[in-house]
Amino acid sequence: MAFGMGVVRGMGVTLRHFFETYTVAQKKQPAVAGNVPSPAEAIKGGKMPGGMPTETGGIFTFQYPDQKLPVPERFRYIPFLLYEEEPESERAQFDGTRCTACGICAKVCPPQCIWIVQGKGDDGRPRPVATEFYIDASICMSCGFCSEYCPFDAIKMDHDFEFSSYERHESWVFDIQELLHPVAYHAAIHPTDYERELEEQRQKEAAKRKKEEAARAAAASTGVDADEAKRRKMEARQRMLDAKAKRETAQGGGEGG
């Protein structure tokens, strides 16, 4: 190859990219403001959106914030808490909040940005509800462990990433009121995950019904009332919770930072 041909050939590549900007890229550029379809939607619709794979070329840009690329379902940014809106849900007595203040999210959180206060009843006994729940978003690393390991599907990762503020301390500590979102919001941004949740709930209910029937059948044969057995179980659970709370009070006293 003659000297200089390498440079000329490289120029050819640059030129092609330049022309593709007008022949390919700008034609695919969404003309109107609004959301561009996500890759998944585009595949279902049989065509690729402006940004995705094979047939794009050249240079194009999205006019953020007028146009926004939608984020995939699993995208995660800063957790939020869930509350049930249906009045007949089993969490209704706790204002619908799903969080039971078990504290797993706070313990698994790598930068330890979550802190929770467990609710207490009039008799001083702990109740399975969080009265205070803070997330310091300025140190949250959006790793998603809290939502991954939450046994109650009470905390989920958000899609909203537009959190800029002029103040970088107080406005980044989110309290429980800022964190709480309705389940419908979760269902809208995480449709697949919500479907899994419903499926698990259905299975659980089916298993529960089966168990109840078995218990009724057993009660019929042994004479022990199923309701009585349930009451005993609840009492045992409450005793356990009390003991735990006592232990934690004894432990926590000496270690406040």
């Binding site: 190859m1 490289g10 890759p39 595949i43 940004g51 794979p53 330890q112 929770i116 790793c143 930072g257």
Partner: protein
């Protein structure tokens, strides 16, 4: 060019230990983990024999463990002909921690011994330049010792209980901890540095008459130039102190640590699992590779099995990581030699498509946090396969070919890269270089082939090497590796089975049995190793990262000497460092 090591039989690590014991008698011992414990006085002699007679020609890793009664300096060495690593240990007194330096045996120990000195205060007798490396010279204290407390120290181990259940939140800055002012300065410290023996500290840019007297043969005046840390060519906050004779480099000292955040201490305070997202932040261009290294080490300790499907998903994700990382690395090198940003933008266009795949699978483009001990966090989403298929069968091969046509034959590129920064194979091995730097010097060594992990032994792919040892060779190795990675992804996508993606029970609080392990993976930038010591508790006792970028910098001075200043930029670019991993 190949290295002649075939005079020795290739020994398994256990055989090396047994034979060394037979030969050195009571000067060596074996500990519970199968490591060769070497008497301090005999260390240089035994190490030389291990290198010359037992074939351990490559020092992978050097670090230190702080035990209550002693410091253990830990070495991992292996043969360039393949096989596992042998662990060597040498104990140092707590009161006066000194061990002999092994820089003369393995030159690759140079920066790593400085790091161990910096972090633990263990001195290496005979080291040519035993100075702090990550911390500044006048820093007081040793940050990885168990008794070290950082500013705003809260508690030794996570999970902290001081923030819960009181609900009294506070900001670190406002909290008056006992340790908030423990950055201690020595007597005589000023902003310009500390005076030592009447001469200023080494990091101050001065060349005084003393230096000139010591090198009387030079014809022109020497000049010290500080390149970086705010220099656009240094890939981040990295500094090179160049000693110049005219325009020619006569010496180069890497100065680093501007982004040091004591990653290992953070790791030792974290729960085992909670450490996973932190590994993303090491080499943030190759995030998933980092996670695999850590997961692999802990899985070795726990004896966990990874289900088939998870193994395939890991391979696909990590090889995609390699492609996007090399796209970045190669075009950043072009950026450094003056092909300003145009090739880079073309490569970023492709890289973004791979990051889109990461985002839809893991939830994040860079900080993926996707690997778990025993598998991965989520299954591939349904749209992953069709998109990846179009990418790896169609778009990426064309993009790599186009890049080849665009750059590889370009005369200006060749002029800048060929014959510059040559690292001969013996030196590359001696300096513990790894990854494309090692393979660009003609050494066909790849951890995926030498000590296969995961299911790499099932695929048909080649280890890419080039004999020249210059920048061009490293560039070509990276381009070749992208093609090989495509081959692996294609095969993995063809064979991936259905099934579970996580072995064992999903748990956040895991018990890791007592023991120690050195797990290593081939990351895009070289051999990434994790040395983990568990005492059976919820947090690691010792967690060390063998960072390929950091160790590859050991050879930087050697590669640069005799070249012009402008070439140092290209040579540094060809090592392709990521400062998040160099400084940790």
């Amino acid at each position: 060019m190949t290295v002649t090591t075939d005079v020795h039989p290739l020994l398994a690590p256990a055989d090396v230990v047994a034979r060394a014991q037979a030969r050195f008698g009571d000067r060596v011992g074996v500990d519970a983990h199968g490591a060769l414990v070497i008497d301090r006085a005999a260390l240089p002699e035994v190490a030389t024999a291990l290198r010359d007679d037992f074939g351990l020609d490559y020092l992978n890793n050097l670090t230190c463990v702080d035990w209550p009664d002693r410091f253990d300096v830990v070495y991992h060495a292996c043969s360039m002909r393949g096989g596992g690593t042998v662990t060597l240990k040498c104990a140092a007194d707590r009161a006066n921690p000194v061990v002999p330096s092994l820089v003369t045996v393995w030159a690759g120990a140079n920066l790593q011994e400085r790091e161990a000195y910096d972090m633990f205060g263990v001195r290496f007798a005979g080291h040519p330049n035993l100075k702090r490396i990550l911390m500044w010279e006048s820093f007081q204290g040793y940050p990885l010792r168990k008794d070290w407390k950082e500013a705003y120290f809260e508690q030794n181990l996570k999970p902290f209980n001081s923030r819960w259940p009181d609900g009294q939140f506070f900001f670190g800055e406002t909290k008056l901890a006992e340790w908030n002012s423990n950055a201690k300065y020595p007597r005589g410290y000023t902003a310009a540095g500390i005076e030592k023996d009447g001469r200023p500290d080494s990091n101050v840019m001065v060349l005084d008459a003393e230096d000139l007297k010591r090198s009387p043969d030079i014809g022109s005046e020497r000049l010290i130039v500080n390149m970086g840390p705010q220099h656009p060519s240094t890939h981040g906050v990295f500094q090179m102190r160049l000693t110049l004779d005219g325009e020619t480099v006569v010496d180069l000292q890497p100065v680093m640590g501007y982004m040091h955040r004591n990653h290992e201490k953070i790791g030792e305070r974290n729960l085992w699992l909670a450490n996973m997202p932190y590994t993303d932040r090491l080499d943030y261009i190759a995030q998933l590779g980092n996670e695999w290294g850590y997961a692999l080490s802990v899985e070795k300790l726990m004896g966990l099995e990874v289900p088939e499907r998870a193994e395939y998903i890991r391979i696909i994700m990590v090889e995609l990581t390699r492609i996007q990382s090399h796209l970045w690395g190669v075009t950043f090198l072009l950026n450094d030699i003056g092909a300003f940003f145009t090739p880079m933008m073309y490569a970023i266009e492709e890289r973004e498509l791979i990051l889109d795949l990461f985002e839809m699978t893991t939830g994040s483009r860079l900080m993926c946090n996707y690997f778990r001990f025993g598998g991965v966090a989520y299954d591939l989403p349904p749209e992953f396969m069709p998109l990846t298929r179009t990418l790896v069968y169609d778009r990426l091969p064309r993009a790599i070919d186009e890049m080849d046509a665009y750059l590889t034959g370009n005369e200006i590129v060749l002029e800048r890269m060929q014959g510059v920064g040559v690292l001969p194979p013996e030196l590359a091995i001696g300096y513990s270089a790894s990854g494309p730097v090692l393979r660009g010097s003609g050494v066909p060594y790849d951890v995926r082939r030498a000590e296969p992990y995961g299911i790499y032994d099932r695929f048909d792919w080649d280890v890419v090497t080039r004999p020249e040892g210059d920048i061009y060779a490293r560039y070509m190795v990276r381009v070749g590796e992208m093609r090989e990675s495509l081959k692996i992804v294609q095969q993995a996508m063809r064979d991936i089975p259905e099934g579970p993606i996580l072995g064992g029970k999903k748990a956040w609080q895991i018990r890791v049995p007592e023991g120690e392990v050195y797990g290593r993976v081939e990351n895009p930038r070289g051999e990434l190793g994790y040395y983990c010591v568990s005492d059976g508790k919820a947090n690691p006792y010792r967690y060390h990262v063998r960072s390929p970028c950091f160790v590859n910098l050991t050879a930087l001075a050697e590669m640069t000497k005799g070249h012009k200043v402008a070439d140092t930029v290209a040579i540094l670019g060809s090592i392709d460092i990521v400062l998040g991993e160099v400084d940790r």
